[in-house]
């Protein structure tokens, strides 16, 4: 039979690899800085751009989209060409994908420290960047589907299905979650409010983990693990079941991030049930990976690539066991808002994504440069440093999480909270934070060693930019046995893609439609009013400074929480919250009922020098809020934008809003002056922030006992 000659494009893979390594190290460095800031707040440097709240999203975005994202593209571009026996559909699209993605990362690296953020986790980037992400993602999709269409291999290997699912689902998630109302070029409000916004966000957040951090890497596992071990996957049948059940179940599990919140109970239960079911496909996949090495474990001892992959797959197994456990309501009651969750995601991030990426890089560089790995010893050193790093990172955080949670819930014999001061529970776990930073540091050292090793490896070989290959064209390929609908499906990429889309959309729709219906049916709590213009500015400062990174605004219905914070949070209280700010971590106390709890002057001094007001506090100071002035020119735009998405500001209110703003600000400035002799301009940003904090959770305090009973 006539074989066609062609070549595989290694050059774009090489560029993605370089980007992976660079952004991996940058992302980890930012992570290490954050870890240190938690016990040495001085490392916030008293600068707006380097405070914890602003660089925490920088870390998560850098790791997820820059490090893991580029690794995914590298892995996909390499394996897809070979599995389909063709060059990518279009070199031009490959390069648009590459440079477009790097520009998006650059934009993120600039805007996030500047405080331009939507505050929705892993979707912090503002609307122009969201649009750019959509465009580049579509370019990736066209390039991928195009490649599949011009393939020389009749059937699509299971890895390709995972890539398709990744493309389709991330597109849907990103578009739905990014519905926002632009105010200025770099400021927007989420289209959804309160409970709805929370549900959409965690449907997104959870599935971003599923379809950005998991499915593409499962695809990579199904290609690189058999490839590195030079033997086929343990059970291809299992991989088919793995794929369909995973994408079917994953999409439902999002609400487990919102247990005990104001989200309707049925949605919480749905999230729990599907989360528990998720353990089956996840472990099916893990076992499939590990059993591929049955009878070949001697290779694992000698081959760094396999070592990394074995730990990666094991970490995948651990975190996918832990995930369902954490979504049980009784476990969640303890673990949620604590460092347990941080440990959990880092088993996934450092173990699964990190080690899978490292294994892949140790495999790809020698192949693409036609040489051997420069030093197996260094790779082994990296392996042990990394493994040790993960353990020293995660274990202290598990202890910290459980310790702190138990302290939050501890009552003394008299029936009062044993640790009334939240700070006591923070000081208790600071040594564990230090250990965690050491773990992260070891992991980072390992990454540096890898970088050196890979550069040396490339140096001793010659880069093969276009790798020659030959294969029979599709129409002449030998006929394979057809057995039923699924194998037919694997020959029809477009139908396959559509089915995948349906599988993931069903979950999303059934979960969200009732919740969206609720919005029009929620009996609005009469006393809940839109924010005043000054409070609105304060809220936007709260968003800008990333306060939500460390403070929740969701008092759960536990006695330990109502004792500590006050009345538990009601769904109806958040109807004007675009976006919702419930948070996911309590490094500091919950703030939903902080309004009117302290005098204005307390907030004034506390934001200036937290450590002086609360001895031992690890909160960074915010001196710039005392100098910068509220941007009153933005008020009208904000009011109009919010009215468009349903906040009932009266028509024409934007014209007079600044008058209300001025009088409320003057009132606060006067109270500061009268009570404590503090002199501060009424335009200062801190005034707006105080206004917002004093408003928080007070709507239903006003008529205590009247409006709350019905909820």
């Amino acid at each position: 039979m006539e074989l066609e000659k062609f070549s595989y494009d290694n050059k774009v893979v090489k560029y993605f690899i370089v980007a992976t390594v660079i952004f991996g190290i940058v992302g980890m460095l930012v992570g290490l800085t954050l870890a240190i800031q938690l016990f040495y707040p001085i490392f916030n440097f008293d600068l707006p751009y380097t405070t914890f709240g602003r660089i925490r999203p920088l870390h998560t975005n850098a790791i997820i989209f820059a490090f893991v994202g580029n690794a995914m593209f590298a892995g996909v571009y390499y394996s897809m060409q070979r599995l389909l026996k063709t060059r990518m559909f279009s070199d031009a699209l490959s390069w648009i994908n590459f440079w477009g993605w790097q520009l998006i990362i650059l934009a993120a690296a600039i805007t996030l420290p500047l405080g331009m953020t939507t505050s929705k986790e892993y979707a912090e980037l503002e609307w122009p960047i969201d649009i750019a992400i959509t465009l580049i993602w579509v370019v990736f999709g066209i390039n991928m589907i195009g490649t599949i269409l011009k393939r020389r291999e009749k059937h699509m290997y299971v890895a390709i299905w995972f890539y398709i699912a990744t493309f389709v689902t991330v597109a849907v998630l990103h578009v739905v979650n990014s519905f926002e109302m632009p105010v200025t070029l770099f400021k927007s409000y989420s289209w959804y409010a309160g409970v709805q916004d929370a549900l959409v966000q965690w449907w997104y957040g959870h599935n971003a983990v599923a379809f950005f951090l998991t499915t593409p890497f499962l695809g990579l596992m199904y290609y690189y693990l058999p490839k590195a071990a030079n033997r086929p996957v343990y059970s291809y049948k299992l991989s088919i079941i793995h794929f369909w059940s995973l994408i079917f179940i994953y999409i439902w599990a999002g609400p487990h991030h919102l247990l005990y919140t104001s989200l309707p109970n049925w949605a919480q239960s749905l999230g729990v049930v599907f989360s528990v079911m998720l353990i089956a496909p996840s472990w099916g996949g893990m076992l499939n990976g590990l059993l591929t090495l049955r009878g070949a474990w001697d290779k694992v001892r000698e081959e760094p690539v396999l070592k990394f992959m074995v730990v990666a797959v094991t970490a995948y197994g651990m975190s996918t066991f832990e995930g369902p456990m954490l979504s049980l309501k009784n476990v969640n009651a303890i673990a949620h808002f604590t460092d347990w969750i941080i440990a959990h995601v880092h088993i996934g991030g450092l173990g699964w994504n990190g080690f899978m990426t490292f294994g892949m890089l140790y495999f790809l560089i020698p192949k693409m440069w036609g040489t051997k790995l420069f030093s197996v010893k260094l790779a082994n050193a990296h392996f042990w440093l990394g493994t040790l790093g993960i353990i020293i990172y995660a274990l202290p955080l598990y202890v910290a999480g459980v310790t702190q949670s138990l302290m939050w819930k501890e009552f003394n014999a008299e029936g009062f909270l044993e640790y009334k001061n939240f700070l006591e529970t923070v000081v208790q776990i600071l040594p564990l934070y230090m250990l965690r930073a050491i773990g992260g540091f070891l992991y980072l050292i390992g990454a540096f060693i890898m970088t050196y090793n890979l550069i040396k490896t490339a140096g001793q070989g010659t880069f093969i930019a276009n790798e020659d290959a030959e294969a029979a064209p599709l129409e002449k390929a030998p006929k394979q046995v057809e057995t039923g609908w699924h194998s037919v499906l694997e020959r029809k990429p477009v139908i396959f893609t559509v089915l995948t889309l349906i599988a993931i959309v069903i979950g999303g729709v059934i979960e969200m439609v009732p919740t969206f219906l609720i919005e029009s049916n929620v009996p609005t709590i009469a006393s809940v009013k839109p924010y005043t213009p000054l409070e609105l500015h304060g809220r936007d400062i709260y968003i800008r400074e990333g306060c939500v990174s460390c403070h929740s605004q969701m008092v759960r219905p536990f006695r330990s929480e109502t004792e500590r914070y006050g009345e538990y949070s009601k769904a109806g209280e958040f109807v004007y919250d675009h976006p919702f700010l419930w948070g996911s971590k309590r490094t500091g106390p919950d703030l939903h009922r902080v309004g009117k709890k302290y005098p204005n002057s307390w907030h004034y001094y506390h934001m200036l020098e937290p450590g002086v007001v609360s001895a031992g506090s690890i909160m960074p100071p915010y001196p710039w809020l005392y100098e910068a002035a509220i941007d009153k020119s933005a008020t009208a735009g904000k009011i109009t934008a919010l009215r468009t998405i349903g906040v009932p500001y009266a028509e024409g209110y934007e014209e007079t809003a600044n008058e209300d703003l001025d009088s409320q600000a003057a009132e606060i400035a006067k109270s500061l002056m009268d009570e404590d002799g503090i002199e501060i301009a009424k335009e200062a940003e801190i005034i707006a922030l105080i206004a917002y904090l004093q408003r928080l959770g007070t709507d239903i305090k006003v008529k205590e006992g009247q409006t709350t009973a019905s909820n």
Binding site: L83, S245, P264, E303
Partner: protein
């Protein structure tokens, strides 16, 4: 607590049942297909990563794998 919310949604109790049946039917038919499918086809599929059509020149130079 949220009873009065979903009392107002028409037939809310049917949603979880629809979701479960869709999942169940698909999954069962998938299992049946996987169990009954041809062994040669499965074998050919699982060997795909090993046959990438690249010229063997590179193979000899690669790391032991």
């Amino acid at each position: 607590m949220f009873k009065h919310y979903f009392e107002q949604i028409h037939n809310v109790e049917v949603w979880p049942i629809i979701s479960l049946s869709i999942f169940f039917i698909f999954f069962v038919s998938l299992l049946i297909w996987v169990v009954r499918t041809d062994k040669n086809y499965i074998k050919a599929m699982s060997n795909l990563p090993m046959e990438d059509g690249a010229k063997p020149i590179e193979e000899s130079k690669t790391i032991r794998s």
